[in-house]
Symmetry: C2
Subunit: 695 residues, 2 copies
């Protein structure tokens, strides 16, 4: 539906205190930006009325317990308006003292430039990259729907909350936002209300320069319900629109609110109001125009303190009521209640690691994507909220949870999510699912398409969200689809993200270990899998599980003598290295193979262990069918890397492995050459990749 | 406008030869996929009629000269349907013999899995990542509009062609596509027609699983004109729709064509038809249902050969007519004609490098983004088609061409493009502008947002498109905006992309050199710039220009003695390294500073030069306010890297540089420790980053 709210539609009244609250929010925001000499005053001045209306009339939250599981979520997706959010949190009684507002954007303050999860009580998500908050909010709402469907019982709506957000025109230009919006409607996600701060100004000037579409029509085309508020200072209009949206909880809602950036300031309606301090003079002029009679900065009138402080007792009462409900639920539905508590706390089922499949060579060669599918399905039976899907590639990524339905409005308890060809939004939605709590989310696509997800992966890492990214088709092994589809620089690209863990297992048992690590690891994890088959190593001979748990380990020695060469490999390159080591051993060169499914885990081991695996002074050749860029740290300028320094090609995978030099014979030859060079003293690093051979 | 075309609207007739041509395209596509045992038969079977209609009735091209500047462009944005395109190219007389069709997806064939620019004559763009072709096509149309506005004269429409594309539902789910669509309408781009292959099946199943929006309504909301063809096998309907679109050249057009994936095959309308061979039996059944009576594969009936071969004389005639026009134009408008020829050939104005600004210390400290703005504006006066813009950050990225207007329908000759907050589409559109020819495009955003552009940057590199990416706000120097906005892993992330050149200049003169390199370099270039001020080095003492042209060079020696330490730095870290070297020199440790604005350029230098700059055996500390991941190659395990192994923080930039250890004092201390370690023999690499100090 498309609703246009105008003043004459409205009932109710706006009190002088309401207005004073709004102006306090505005003036605090001005003061913060002025004190920092940095920040964004424009959004808080324009959006304060809608934010106040939402927080005052609708938002159910408990400032004394920001972690209350059933709170409504508020996302300041337009994170540059952080001063607005900090003002709201402070005035609503969160543990964010005025001193912190005065230290806006300073070293180790609780009021950083953009909202950061874990830094400020009441901040639900790190935001600031346009569109990420919007998409993560869809994840919040999806989490709520799933948990409600799975755990609520007649008379016991223990999971029952809304997701609200405040979004900007810049965000609505971002592709991730478009993907998430289309997904939300297709998936029938409800209890999601976004207030669109339509101030018609973006950083370069009026939005007419670059953004002429009808946002409301676009959202209706997706299947959203919409409402329009023509006067963003009219609390009644805003109230009516949100009330209307709440009356239709099965749709996602976009409420367009026409506002004025930098409202009441001399820079109102100009791009200059967006991202720089007003300056003392303009700040004073703004306060004067607001009728603000308090010369000292950071002033909060008593009436405002009292009124907005009501959030504290109201929140305590709301949570207490819910605790009562939960206690009755626990009595009436002990099984569901126990499970809900366990999933909300992220507990592990007893003995779950023992149920992981163990593979042996008699299972035959197996693509690691297939091994992963088996592990996923075993784990899905133990972890009731392990859920996820793929960006329209589930049959290829092998990420279907058997026996569960597709997640949809008709089947909200379905654990298979059809994200569509929307890699970026998928990753953001995973982050929302993970941060919401209660869910263990995974999302799958081809490794090459991790490029589409970079901003969201980084957000997962910065928030330490337990988002699990499954990437298949991990190298030139993709074969015929060719260079566009063959990852080269993606592995090191992911490993470079601070706080990220990347696992590239070499066989089926390493794959099981990768899952075992992923579920326990802090922060986001990527498991990188093959399309092509890999041999399964004999776990009696190759300590795949215990080794993988340490990130890297000795997979084989070619003989009893101390190694004179080390082949360091990951994933599908471990097997040809084992063969190469055999060849070298036969030639009288004792050679060790090290499998390193996770550089990050290996890095965390004690130095003594690391040196026992990669002995200093022994020439080391790293072998990975991807960019060499990060391997030099581990092999040194005296070592060598057999990687790929160009793009792949379109041909059958085995042909490509041969042409790009990953045959056991070529690996052995390259390693031998390295050993000879190192005996004579290498002058400088060799080339980092290999060109396909002429033959 | 929204047009729905139905059969009864149509005039004209479809001949038996038309049908035979279509079925030949279908059968060749089947045969290619069967021969390769790999590929995507579904799209060619369903989309052959619209593709044939477009190529037969509308596309103006010259198979004998695929590089004809004024040809219409056809983009198979849905690149997985490559067999369709190769069939069309072969039958239309391009230099793509049947032998190549038989070698579909094989090593070094001209028929790779997805279309690749430069591999196959007539392929306009590398495609295959959903949405990239769509967005690059917007760049094609934008290039045409600009060149036409600038160079056409009354009676001489020497630049006058259309851009056509074939797109899929998967693409329409991608954010990059949404961004590009919204931009195209906002910018008033016309002469752009996309045929949407609406087969209602995606890889996971029916699109109803994940894609329930009304695409046509959405595109109308953007401001596109639309048409709908309800029977994708009806050539008259298709003809009418394209004709209608061509009658309104000022709008971008989306023509939705309802088709059936895997048409006529036993797998029709199922996801199984999408991406795997039909298999011999189903292939035969399909041919039988099409009434195809030729048992041998790769068969082309004579009538089809003749009819589709008409493209050769038609194309020759079209180009000849244009050459006549161009000759008359050259006579009538010699100035414009000469300039147009020069820009189409990418020629350089005589002596252009001499006009580059030279900076000296008296210019005072200057942010490299400001130096870049000065260089850009000088170059813009010499290169008439140097154009570009920013993703809604032009006032911050300093990328406005003074004295030129904003590009729009009203002012199509404007050289300042307002891309809006659409980083990904911007990058793709740059690629389209660059590949079209005639334009030197640049696009600017903050370095952190390069993450949003990764797929498009990679496409620039894979195609070796001369897209210039300007990235400002390049480190923790961003300051108060905090960790979300501070790049860490982005520098090495970009350097890891094969075929990409990254330049991070250390001062204003290195910035000028970076531009000088960028305009001449093959393939995409990123110039990475600061928000904060940097000292300007005395070019008499620091060979900024000549050094930068070699990628890396000796910026200073602390004294006459051979260096015992090397500090290797880029960008804003060069200046504190010069100070650190001074401190070390005073302590009796001869120290060299190497500035390395481009690792890629340095890597291309001869070994003797490289070793003269980075002498083997001298302990080297790399200093860069970003991830250390790739520096180990250059410093070795006996060296050290002062980088950042975590996220940044929100505080003033100078505070952060201090806290993160980039003060001259800390650099000197770290270097000294390295030298002492190396004298005693280092055991293994030290940690790669630094934690903020406690103080």
């Amino acid at each position: 539906m498309g609703l246009v709210v105008r003043s004459h539609d409205s009932e109710g009244s706006v009190t002088a205190t309401d207005q004073e609250c709004i102006d306090t929010i505005r003036c605090l925001s001005i003061d913060m930006v002025e004190a920092a000499k940095s920040g964004h005053p424009g959004l808080p001045l324009g959006a304060a009325p809608m934010a106040f209306t939402l927080w005052d009339r609708f938002l159910r939250h408990n400032p004394a317990n920001p972690g209350w599981a059933n709170r409504d979520r508020f996302i300041l997706s337009a994170g540059h308006g952080s001063a607005l959010l900090y003002s709201l949190l402070h005035l609503s009684g969160y543990n964010l003292p005025m001193e912190e507002l005065k230290r806006f954007r300073q070293w180790e303050s609780k009021t950083p430039g953009h909202p950061e999860l874990g830094v400020t009580p009441g901040v639900e998500l790190t935001t600031g990259h346009l569109g990420q908050g919007f998409a993560m909010g869809v994840g919040f709402a999806a989490a709520e729907r799933f948990l409600a469907a799975k755990y609520n019982r007649e008379g016991f709506p223990v999971v029952d909350h809304w997701t609200y957000g405040l979004i900007s025109d810049g965000e609505l230009m971002e592709g991730v936002c478009a993907e998430a919006a289309s997904f939300a409607a297709s998936a029938g996600i409800g209890k999601l209300i976004y207030l669109y701060d339509d101030n018609q100004v973006s950083l370069e000037g009026p939005t007419s320069l670059s953004f002429t579409e009808s946002v409301v029509d676009r959202f209706q085309a997706y299947g959203w319900s919409t409402a329009e508020v023509e006067d963003g200072n009219d609390l009644n209009e805003i109230f009516e629109a949100i009330t209307a949206a709440k009356s239709e909880p099965t749709y996602p809602w976009l409420i367009r609110v026409r506002t004025h950036i930098g409202y009441a300031s001399p820079k109102q309606d100009t791009r200059e109001a967006h991202g720089e301090p007003l300056g003392a003079e303009a700040a004073n002029a703004t306060k004067a125009r607001l009728g603000w009679n308090h010369p000292e900065p950071f002033f909060v009138p008593d009436g405002v303190r009292e009124r907005m402080g009501e959030a504290v007792p109201n929140g305590a009462a709301a949570e207490a009521e819910w605790q009562t409900l939960r206690a009755a639920y626990a009595e009436a539905e002990p099984g569901a209640a126990t499970e809900l508590e366990a999933v909300l706390e992220g507990r592990f089922p007893h003995g779950w690691t023992n149920t992981l499949p163990r593979f042996s060579p008699v299972d035959g060669p197996m693509a690691s994507r297939d091994a992963s599918a088996r592990v996923l399905n075993v784990l899905a039976s133990r972890f009731p909220t392990l859920m996820g899907g793929s960006a329209d590639l589930a049959p290829s990524t092998k990420t279907i949870i058997n026996g569960s339905s597709s997640s949809s409005q008709e089947s909200p308890e379905g654990r298979n999510i059809h994200f569509g060809a929307r890699e970026h939004a998928m990753a953001s939605i995973l982050n929302g699912l993970a941060i919401h709590g209660g869910i263990r989310p995974f999302g799958a696509t081809f490794l090459i398409f991790s490029d589409y997800q970079r901003p969201a992966i980084r957000f997962a890492a910065i928030m330490q969200a337990k988002s699990l990214f499954l990437y298949t088709h991990d190298s030139i092994g993709v074969g015929e689809d060719g260079p566009t589809h063959q990852p080269v620089e993606q592995l090191w690209g992911l490993r470079s993200i601070p706080g990220m863990t990347v696992l590239r297992p070499a066989d089926a048992n390493e794959t099981a270990a990768a899952w075992e690590i992923a579920l326990q690891r802090q922060g986001p994890v990527a498991i990188v899998l093959t399309r092509q088959k890999l041999p399964t190593f004999d776990p009696e001979k190759v300590p795949t599980r215990s080794g993988a748990l340490r990130g890297g380990y000795i997979a084989s020695e070619s003989g009893p003598d101390a190694p004179e060469l080390v082949l360091l490999a990951t994933g599908s390159e471990v097997a040809p290295c084992l063969d190469a080591a055999r060849l070298l051993g036969e030639q009288g060169i004792p050679t060790r193979v090290v499998s390193m499914p996770s550089v990050e885990l290996f890095e965390e081991q004690e130095a003594a262990y690391r040196q026992s695996v990669l002995p200093p002074g022994v020439p080391t050749l790293a072998v990975e069918a991807g960019s060499a860029v990060g391997w030099w740290r581990w092999v040194g300028t005296q070592g060598d890397v057999l990687g790929i320094a160009r793009y792949g090609a379109s041909a059958p995978g085995p042909v490509l492995f041969q042409k790009f030099g990953f045959s056991p014979e070529n690996i052995a030859a390259r390693a031998k050459a390295l050993r000879e060079r190192s005996e004579h003293g290498a002058e400088e690093p060799t080339e980092s990749g290999t060109e396909p051979s002429e033959s």
